[in-house]
């Protein structure tokens, strides 16, 4: 009897321990996870965790001082560049290891190793897009240059020094929750991270959708609805800026080619809110007589934050700004002499080529009248808890065949494929640009730094203490015939290939323009007289025009003037469209609630302020209007996917073309008019809001509540690790570009002068640990539209009451 008890209690103990040490589906191992010595409790950091410390790190060559300020920003002081980037890697990993690894796993198509089957398709897609292939190309270039090799290697060694010092109890919380372990970092991961940015910022294209539209409506109509310049757009480079180069000849447009329509289009499409603002005013417009520069890149907002603030002080550099965890240097920032910032260019650097395979085996494709072999790469995706998934990707000389099928096969047995040509696959060394920008002292240094930059192309805004301001939409741009790549290209015709590059000095640029400011908001880089074709579509006019109007009016501007402009909530589309739409609206067809709403609409000052009801009404009214105008002609569920014309084209139709054929709904027998559509869509908008928010127009109708901005955890799954319902105005296509989950991921304003002064904030915190006070301590400051004064030190011993801790890293 006692033997049985002894045996069973022991068995029970062992089973219990085993169960509490095992994952059950998505539930972490409860005993392991909850134990306060190594489970999640070990990640609950005391707020004052950063007391003075000495650390010995294998791999350092000398002593490094790291000073942490009250926002937990590290200020790193090193005697050599090797130690500087080693320490940047170490400290960044200390705060952001899990995020750095997950983002690079994502780019490499390896998330399924952690998550399982649910992400296998995303992994497959990223592999077919060839991100790892592109990262490998870039890695070769980075490692071929002795400077970038040393930086990347030191940065990676620093990250690994941190990883090697970890015991399982020290792992970032998400490893414990998801049940896996960090792997060693490698220089390839730095390259992958930059390719991930390229994917977010330079992979957008409409080639396939526009090709389908071309099939449906012909060239003239397509050209009319999807023209090569935007209504009311003010290009980044002012029209009167002098041109300082002699254009090179552009390849001749080959004979017409009508690509097949394509029906399958499961592809990543970047968030339409992804964009950015930057500008600089010259000393003539500022109170101090020195330039002031501002930058706010708009990205999908996530926690941990996309950016990591850092000050890097080495033998030839003292720079402060926002870095990307996983990449050395500062990406948007300032030093004693200059400041710079980036917004996305978004030009067309990704084109699709229709591939004619020889037979169903798809081992050969037609090119220049001959059959060429494809190169096959077998991608093996490891899936947690399941068998590996193997996927064969065929590479043509254009690039990978991302889609193996789709469209009507030109031969019943041989479906066509579409190969992708993308600048992000080319060898590049962006590290060089940032290395030099971090050290730049003047305009000449800045332009030299830009010559190394390839992808994703950025509008680099610049200001210096020498009183220069400038902007260069910069990157490696294919030299195209007009509209090359607007539609799918012929992969068998050499004339359809990219035949060169816009010479880098010919990239659009302007220095010290007469108007006293430079700016960009992702709009057309240059006007229609610019000799090279970059794309048919950029961001529409609203943000760019609003910024230019306000900057033009500014005199004796201060840091605060620019901060206020970053928070500008003027809804330009509403200002331009609503007065006309109201003239079409028939009040006698509205019920009580709709009439009340109309009153609110009429009294709205077109500011997307948090408590206003106007922006809510307009948002829904405009969305309904877009659907009413275009859905019948460009249905969302078409067999061959299409897209609506752009917002600005819609505005032009409402203002100037009330009788356009598109106004009529082709699916009804009646002939619809713009007046009818305006009234119907307004009624529908109010009815929807009344249904969700109640018939008395209350706080649920207010813009901030309706928009409900949130910052999710990077996984998008772990809700308590995100921040929700932030009280903030603005919105898509507003200068304050805060939409539901996309917006200013970093806001910076820098006043140049004898002593540079920087201000900045991002919607999150320095730490990536959800158990840290510094995980999201800047969110409220950000949501209020305020900036923190940035601590810019010249000595590690410098007295500053905002310093929390001083660490010494020794070899």
């Amino acid at each position: 009897m006692i033997g049985i008890k002894a045996f069973f209690t022991l068995l029970f103990t062992i089973t219990l321990v085993f169960l509490l040490n095992s994952r059950m589906g998505s539930v972490p191992p409860l005993g392991k996870f909850m134990n306060p010595f190594g489970g999640f409790w070990a990640n609950a950091e005391p707020r004052n965790a950063g007391k003075d410390k000495n650390l010995n790190l294998h791999g350092l060559r000398g002593e490094v001082k790291v000073v942490f300020d009250d926002n937990m920003v590290p200020h790193i002081f090193a005697a050599s560049n090797h130690d500087l980037y080693f320490a940047q890697g170490y400290v960044t990993a200390m705060h952001r290891l899990w995020q750095m690894e997950l983002q690079t796993h994502f780019a490499a198509g390896r998330v399924s190793e952690i998550i399982g089957e649910a992400t296998a398709e995303i992994d497959r897609y990223n592999r077919r897009m060839g991100l790892t292939y592109g990262a490998g190309q870039s890695l070769k270039a980075m490692m071929a240059d002795s400077m970038s090799r040393e930086v990347i290697q030191a940065y990676s060694d620093g990250i690994n020094a941190y990883i090697n010092g970890l015991s399982p109890a020290d792992y970032p919380l998400e490893y414990k929750l998801l049940g896996y372990e960090p792997e060693p970092w490698s220089p390839l991961k730095c390259a992958l991270l930059l390719k991930q940015m390229a994917m977010t910022l330079s992979s957008g294209n409409d080639d396939r959708r526009l090709t389908n539209i071309l099939h449906k409506y012909g060239y003239a109509t397509t050209q009319n609805l999807f023209p090569n310049f935007h209504f009311r757009s003010e290009p980044i480079i002012p029209t009167d800026a002098p041109r300082d180069f002699q254009p090179v000849p552009v390849p001749k447009q080959p004979e017409n080619f009508l690509p097949r329509p394509t029906d399958k289009m499961a592809m990543y499409e970047p968030d339409p809110g992804t964009g950015s603002n930057n500008w600089a005013i010259s000393g003539s417009k500022s109170a101090t007589g020195y330039p002031i520069l501002a930058n706010d890149p708009h990205l999908d907002l996530t926690l941990p934050s996309i950016w990591y603030q850092v000050q890097l002080v080495g033998p030839d550099v003292n720079v402060y700004g926002a870095s990307l965890p996983g990449s050395p240097h500062v990406i948007s920032g300032f030093n004693q002499r200059i400041a710079w910032g980036v917004t996305n260019v978004g030009s067309d650097v990704l084109d699709w080529y229709e591939i004619r395979f020889r037979d169903a085996a798809r081992n050969e494709y037609l090119y220049d009248g001959k059959w060429r072999p494809v190169r096959k790469v077998v991608e093996v995706i490891k899936v947690r808890g399941k068998a590996d998934v193997a996927d064969t990707v065929r590479y043509t000389h254009h690039g990978p065949v991302v889609y193996d099928e789709g469209g009507k096969p030109y031969n019943a047995n041989v479906p066509p494929g579409h190969a992708m040509r993308w600048v992000a696959h080319d060898s590049s060394n962006e590290v060089m640009t940032f290395h030099q920008l971090n050290r730049a002292r003047n305009y000449a240094d800045y332009t030299e730094a830009l010559t190394h930059y390839i992808c994703p192309a950025q509008n680099f805004v610049f200001a210096s203490a020498d009183n220069d301001i400038a902007i260069w939409p910069n990157g490696k741009f294919p030299l195209k015939w007009k509209e090359q790549g607007k539609y799918i290209l012929d992969g068998s015709n050499p004339a359809h290939e990219w035949q060169g590059w816009i010479p880098q000095p010919h990239n659009p640029h302007v220095k010290n323009p007469a108007r006293g400011f430079v700016s960009s908001a992702n709009q057309f880089p240059a006007d229609t007289t610019y000799p090279y074709y970059m794309d048919w579509s950029f961001e529409t006019y609203e943000r760019g025009t609003r910024i230019n109007n306000r900057l033009a009016a500014m005199q004796k501007a201060t840091i605060d003037s620019l901060r206020m402009l970053q928070n500008d909530n003027m809804n330009l589309m509403a200002r331009d469209a609503v007065p006309r739409m109201l003239t079409y609206l028939s009040p006698n067809q509205l019920n009580d609630v709709q009439l009340k709403a109309l009153g609110r609409m009429r009294n709205w000052n077109f500011q997307n302020d948090p408590q206003e009801v106007g922006p809510t009404l307009f948002d829904l009214w405009w969305k309904n209007m877009m659907v009413a105008l275009w859905e019948d002609d460009f249905p969302s569920d078409a067999q061959y996917p299409v897209r609506y014309p752009t917002r600005d084209r819609t505005l032009k139709l409402i203002l100037d073309e009330p009788d356009a054929r598109w106004v009529d709904n082709v699916k009804t027998e009646n002939k619809e008019t713009l007046a009818y559509l305006c009234t119907q869509t307004f009624r529908a908008a109010v009815d929807t809001l009344a249904k969700n928010g109640g018939e008395n127009i209350n706080e649920k109708w207010q813009w901030a509540n309706y928009k409900s901005t949130y910052i999710p955890h990077l996984t998008r799954q772990i809700k308590p690790f995100g921040r929700y319902n932030l009280p903030i105005g603005g919105g898509r296509n507003i200068v304050n570009a805060t939409s539901e989950k996309n917006g200013p991921s970093w806001r910076m304003v820098v006043a140049l002068g004898p002593q540079v002064k920087g201000y900045g904030v991002f919607p999150g915190g320095q730490s990536g640990n959800p158990g840290s006070y510094y995980y999201d301590n800047m969110v409220d400051t950000w949501a209020r539209g305020e900036l923190n004064e940035l601590v810019f030190l010249s000595q590690p011993e410098e007295e500053n009451k905002r310093i929390l801790a001083r660490w010494a890293l020794k070899k």
């Binding site: 006692i2 008890k5 002894a6 022991l10 509490l20 134990n35 409790w41 609950a44 959800p770």
Partner: protein
């Protein structure tokens, strides 16, 4: 009482180096040595780990100003963040208690046969202090 303190102290020290489940062998082994009854063994094992984990979690919770407790409690759909401390302590306590109980039964089972046979006669009832003493004496001589 000594069993409680022994389990508490040894678990506290060893958990800084070893995986969490070391609490099970600790409670089992110390109970094998020090337990006097099934009830005493279970209570000592349970309360020692319960107390240890609760105290650790509480200290961490307070120093962290409850930031992470609230998030993890929300993740596990607990209505109050502080329940997280209780859940933590209960899980640890349960392992400690069961392991200690098993330790006691094994102690009975491994006893020299006369005592063991006498145990078989009144299985499930607490052992007497006398029996426990003989075991200890024998053990100490080894």
């Amino acid at each position: 009482m000594p069993l409680f303190f022994l389990i508490l102290a040894l678990s506290f020290v060893l958990q800084f180096f070893l995986p969490w489940w070391i609490i099970a062998p600790v409670a089992f082994g110390l109970s094998l040595w020090k337990s006097t009854s099934a009830r005493q063994a279970f209570l000592a094992g349970f309360s020692a780990i319960f107390f240890l984990w609760a105290a650790m979690a509480l200290v961490i919770h307070l120093r962290n100003e409850g930031i992470l407790t609230a998030k993890i409690a929300a993740l596990f759909s607990l209505p109050f963040p502080s329940l997280m401390i209780l859940v933590t302590a209960l899980i640890g306590g349960l392992v400690g208690g069961i392991a200690a109980l098993s330790g006691f039964y094994w102690k009975q089972f491994l006893k020299p046969s006369p005592a063991a046979s006498s145990m078989k006669a009144n299985a499930g009832t607490p052992v007497t202090a006398q029996q426990n003493f003989t075991f200890k004496t024998r053990h100490n001589k080894v």
